[in-house]
């Protein structure tokens, strides 16, 4: 008897664990807690299928257990045979047809959900860009590269793959940011997902499923958040050594906050006044400008980064973002002060913080990730002072909500 009873628990374990999963509260990537329309559609579909699957599983395992209990013998003896049934066509046809019918039903729901997932609606909203009101069909170009995400906002143009051309050489955008995508809540945001090097995958579980970023191509995708909030994501296509540290967030805002965000991002970087920051800016021009762009500092000479992907995060509004380095580090401490420690560690030796392939490379091999530039502690400190001036500090709530561990 004992063995049969024990056999019940694998199945139970799974059911139980699914329940537990549903209750987990700290799971920021949980797919079972949809916060947007697409994710909810998916979740509904899955719920239904899970029930079907659960029933099938209980039936199959139940029958096994039942027979293990009923028909068990400990040894055979020569003339004790059960009825020798060789089959039963009607029965077998039945259990060909019934699963087929179940699957057909599932198929219908799947196709409905699939269509919903691939439709986009026309939902232009009014935003103010450079002081003039513009009708904007929310659309963000999402570009993956080893190992961070860039977001590009074009407010005026009709953003199409043709207009964008080569992902490695995209036309200048109104706003370029990285790590955190800002969106207006309650709106459907269309995405064009692409990559500058290998395949990545863009995934915000609470808002929608994922979509691969394929070099050379723009894949359409979308997402929407019901309410303002912060939603975490993780690159899910294996993309090299720091794949696990390629994360991202979506920050959904009220329309007003979003407008405010646009305004900040459209303002060029202010020239620093603080002495350390001035030195930092000089150090930036000397050390960092070959890769990073700061609007108002090196935008006249900048032609792309000397990295394999030809890109590095745009630092113009660095201080307005609350995470950096592919969404794994906090820009600000819990108390709202600049996270100098992590920033210093990053600039001192990025590979020590996040594995990359940027140091000790042969001639003509472009780095993947940010190299160790061998800067003195003093320069590092100056650079941080300068970085702090780049953009306004976000609100305390945002800092708290976007905090990563």
């Amino acid at each position: 008897m004992t063995p049969t009873r024990r056999r019940a628990w694998p199945g139970l374990l799974i059911l139980l664990s699914l329940l537990l999963a549903g209750c987990a509260s700290d799971a920021e990537l949980d797919t079972l807690q949809p916060r947007g329309e697409s994710a909810r559609d998916i979740d509904d579909l899955l719920d239904f299928v899970m029930i079907v699957a659960g029933v099938v599983l209980v039936l199959v395992v139940g029958v096994i257990l039942w027979m293990g209990w009923r028909n068990r013998v400990s040894d055979y003896d020569d003339d004790d045979f059960p009825a020798q049934t060789h089959g039963n066509n009607a029965l077998e046809i039945l259990w060909t047809v019934v699963p087929a019918a179940i699957m057909a039903a599932v198929a219908v729901l799947t196709v409905i959900a699939h269509i919903a997932l691939n439709e986009t609606e026309a939902n232009a909203i009014e935003v103010e860009v450079d002081g003039s009101a513009t009708s904007w069909e929310p659309k963000v170009v999402v570009v993956g590269q080893q190992w961070w995400w860039e977001y590009r906002y074009y407010f005026d143009d009709d953003v199409t793959p043709e207009m964008l051309g080569d992902p490695k050489n995209l036309p200048p955008a109104d706003i370029v940011t990285s790590g955190q995508m800002a969106i207006p809540a309650g709106q459907e945001i269309e995405l064009l997902v692409t990559s500058r090097d290998v395949i990545h995958s863009y995934w915000i579980p609470a808002l929608n499923g994922k979509r691969d970023a394929r070099p050379g191509f723009f894949s359409p995708w979308k997402l929407a958040a019901d309410e303002p909030g912060v939603f975490f994501g993780q690159c899910t296509e294996f993309c090299g050594v720091s794949h696990s540290r390629m994360r991202m967030q979506v920050v959904a805002m009220t329309d007003d906050d979003f407008q405010e965000w646009i305004d900040t991002q459209m303002t060029p970087a202010a020239t620093p006044t603080d002495e350390a920051a001035v030195r930092g800016m000089e150090a930036f021009v000397a050390n960092c400008a070959s890769c990073h762009l700061i609007d108002g500092v090196n935008d006249d000479t900048y032609t792309g980064a000397t990295t394999q992907s030809g890109s590095a995060p745009d630092l113009t509004h660095f201080a307005s973002r609350t995470t950096f380095a592919g969404g794994i580090l906090n820009t600000y401490n819990e108390d709202g002060s600049l996270n100098r420690d992590d920033l210093a560690a990053w600039i001192r030796d990025p590979a020590a913080v996040k594995d990359n392939v940027a140091d000790g490379l042969g001639d003509g091999v472009a780095p993947r990730g940010m190299p160790n530039l061998g800067l003195s502690e003093r320069t590092i400190s100056d650079l941080i002072s300068y970085l702090e001036t780049l953009g306004p500090k976000p609100s305390a709530e945002i800092i708290a909500a976007t905090e990563v561990e």
């Binding site: 063995p3 987990a24 920021e28 797919t31 066509n89 077998e92």
Partner: protein
């Protein structure tokens, strides 16, 4: 070791040797020493060698799995560096799939197909040896990358481009991946052709296709899948290799190439591959469940046809691995639908097994426990597979641990457990003694508890958003607990595996004091049980004439007037004695081994220095010709020539054709 002490029918006399003073160039003769394993063309020995090698690589792949699990036991661990982790999980996947499950299935196929269809050997015995040695050389080759290639491949087992290009994976790991899989693939194609011809051509009189055991059927379907799927990955691997070694432009997006090409080619192969993994196990439990239910298999022809249907449908679903790759909504919908319906033939099988047990007299031997466990665990994995088949749902699931859970349930729960059951079932037939049943059951429970502990929580992890192929994770995502549980589970499986080895070892020692199991210890149903255990080298004294499905059972039992089963013959009466000494057997040969040495040389040559290719190429070409010039049947072997059915095709340059062509592809 147990294996090497196999008694053999052929004994060489010194006088014969003296007749042919050709020194080392003398054709090897059968014998008992270790050298005779190197030149053996006996399908049983080759099967055993496949099995031993596969178990070895199971330990390697399992050790890699344990490293993975150790690294992931707690958040933010630095036990393995990210780079090493990536190499380890890639090699884990490759090792388990290509160096463990496939060869273990090949072990069963080699050992059992000829016996189940009543043949003396496979159609091309030397080619069979070739397949094994070349496979082994490929296996060693691909693992030699740890030492010679600057680390293992680090691109994942499906090695998507462009991440697999030299720019993004500059060590030689991926080169070893490409060349190693080419060598292994060549070996598997050759072996599949051989086994298909064996089944089609070498059956005993009366053994019509629809009297063949279900296992033979499933293995036949598997061989067809191999034969047709492997050429596709061969193409993909060549393109990858050319890109990496000769700078061609197949996967460089900057040059206008499309990374999806690799994905399509890989998965056109890859999906049939997963059925290659599962179908042998389906076949095995289709032998075990009837035996221990004391009933014939329920719905034989439905079982066979659903196996064939799975084989065919498996070709139309590959893009379900690419639902988020950007193949366009129409393709996604089409492949989503086709995938769902593959549940139907698979379901037929599950339900037919249940129906076989229904009303039966079920004896829970270890083999039976494993088989029933397979049915249950595979169902769990199959059902999660169905949830992936819904393309919208899969956009949430793909590349998460939910997928990892799915495929370990089907592969480990479905494939490996079934193969383990097969090991317990046929152990006495192969080695002449039983595996201890009591320890076997402990082994079973360790495995099943371990696997549910390991892979069950992965469902939760995946749905909670844990990506696969991440070398570490942060605390605070809710991943901590279940990862720890999974790690504990993995070590439990590890314990189970060790316990199995212990059981094998001790059972062998104990066997000396136990009665021999006899030809038919389980009261089983198919032809292999009518020959002594272990199987004599010549298999059958007299090739049996087959009159029904489950022939061996019908030689033991009949029906009385009330349609009640009665015994009509004891095993001793019905079984063969295994003492025929005038059976002609194919002669051993060294050339397969030599060719297998040449192949990796060519491989290293492609990677390091083309001149090595020349040496390897000469070795391979020379051995192929030497093989062809060597008569199939050694005229000096001095044995009675009776009803010889075996033909090696050796003296046919045609086989050079087949061999040489593969070779051309390999260089």
């Amino acid at each position: 070791m147990a294996i090497i002490e196999q008694p053999l029918a052929i004994e060489t006399s010194e006088a014969q040797l003296a007749e042919r003073p050709l020194g080392s160039l003398t054709r090897p003769q059968g014998g008992n020493g270790w050298r005779d394993w190197l030149s053996s063309v006996d399908h049983k020995r080759i099967g055993i060698m496949y099995g031993v090698a596969a178990m070895f690589f199971f330990l390697v792949g399992g050790a890699e799995a344990l490293l993975i699990r150790t690294q992931l036991a707690f958040p933010e661990q630095g036990f393995l560096s990210a780079q090493i982790y990536n190499e380890i999980y890639t090699m884990h996947g490759l090792t388990m799939v290509f160096l463990f499950v496939m060869p273990l299935a090949a072990a069963f196929a080699n050992y059992l197909i000829p016996l189940q269809i009543g043949a003396r050997d496979v159609a091309f015995p030397r080619l069979n040896a070739l397949s094994f040695w070349v496979w082994l050389s490929g296996a060693v080759f691909i693992n030699s990358s740890w030492l010679l290639g600057g680390g293992g491949a680090d691109c994942g087992w499906f090695c998507y481009s462009p991440n697999s290009g030299v720019t993004f994976s500059p060590t030689h790991g991926v080169d070893f991946y490409a060349v190693g899989l080419l060598i292994i693939g060549t070996a598997s194609i050759v072996s599949s052709l051989n086994l298909i011809v064996t089944v089609l051509n070498m059956r005993a009189p009366g053994m019509s296709l629809f009297r063949m055991p279900v296992l033979t059927w499933m293995l036949l379907v598997t061989q067809f899948l191999l034969a047709f799927a492997l050429p596709v990955i061969v193409v993909a691997l060549f393109l990858l290799l050319f890109d990496r070694v000769f700078d061609s432009q197949f996967f460089d997006p900057d040059a206008g190439a499309d990374p999806l090409l690799w994905q399509h080619l890989f998965w056109i192969f890859g999906h049939p591959e997963v059925y290659i993994i599962i179908l042998p196990s389906f076949g095995i439990i289709s032998e075990i469940i009837p035996t221990f239910s004391r009933k014939p298999i329920f719905g034989y022809s439905f079982m066979v046809f659903s196996g064939i249907a799975i084989g065919f449908m498996g070709w139309g679903v590959w893009a379900h691995h690419m639902f988020v790759s950007g193949i366009g909504p129409i393709s996604v919908a089409a492949f989503s639908l086709s995938t769902m319906f593959i549940a139907v033939p698979t379901g037929v099988k599950i339900l037919n097994w249940l129906a076989t047990m229904w009303g039966g007299k079920i004896k829970f031997t270890t083999a039976m426990l494993f088989s029933v466990g397979t049915v249950a665990m595979f169902t769990i994995g199959g059902l999660s597979g169905v949830t992936h088949a819904l393309a919208p749902a899969d956009t949430q699931q793909t590349d998460t641990y939910y997928i990892v859970a799915h495929f370990h349930y089907v592969i480990f729960g479905g494939g490996v457990l079934g193969l383990m059951g097969g090991a317990y079932f046929w152990w006495p037939k192969i080695f002449g003694h039983m595996l201890n049943e009591r320890r076997g059951k402990i082994h079973f429970w360790l495995m099943i508890i371990g696997m549910n502990l390991t892979f069950g929580p992965m469902h939760v992890l995946g749905l909670q958003g844990m990506s696969r192929r991440i070398d570490t994770y942060s605390a605070g995502f809710g991943f901590d607990l279940w990862n720890l549980v999974a790690t504990i589970g993995a070590y439990t499986i590890g314990l189970g595996v060790c316990y199995f080895l212990y059981n094998a070892w001790v059972s062998k020692r104990e066997a000396k004091h136990l009665p021999a199991p006899g030809p038919d210890p389980w009261d089983a149903r198919s032809l292999e049980w009518m020959v002594p255990s272990p199987t004599p080298e010549h298999n059958f004294d007299v090739i049996p004439t087959v009159e029904s499905q489950d022939e061996w059972w019908y030689r033991k039992y009949g029906y009385d007037d009330n349609h009640k089963v009665v015994r009509i013959a004891t095993v001793e009466e019905a079984a063969q004695k295994g003492d025929a000494d005038d059976v002609h057997l194919p002669s051993p040969s060294f050339w397969p081994l030599v060719i297998a040495v040449g192949m990796p040389l060519i491989g290293y040559g492609v990677i390091f220095n083309l001149w090595l290719c020349v040496i390897g190429g000469i070795l391979v070409a020379g051995s192929i010709y030497a093989w062809v010039l060597e008569p199939v049947d050694d005229p000096d072997a001095g044995h009675g020539h009776d009803d010889h059915h075996d033909d090696d095709g050796g003296d046919d340059p045609a086989m050079v054709g087949a061999g040489a062509t593969d070779e051309g592809e390999g260089s």
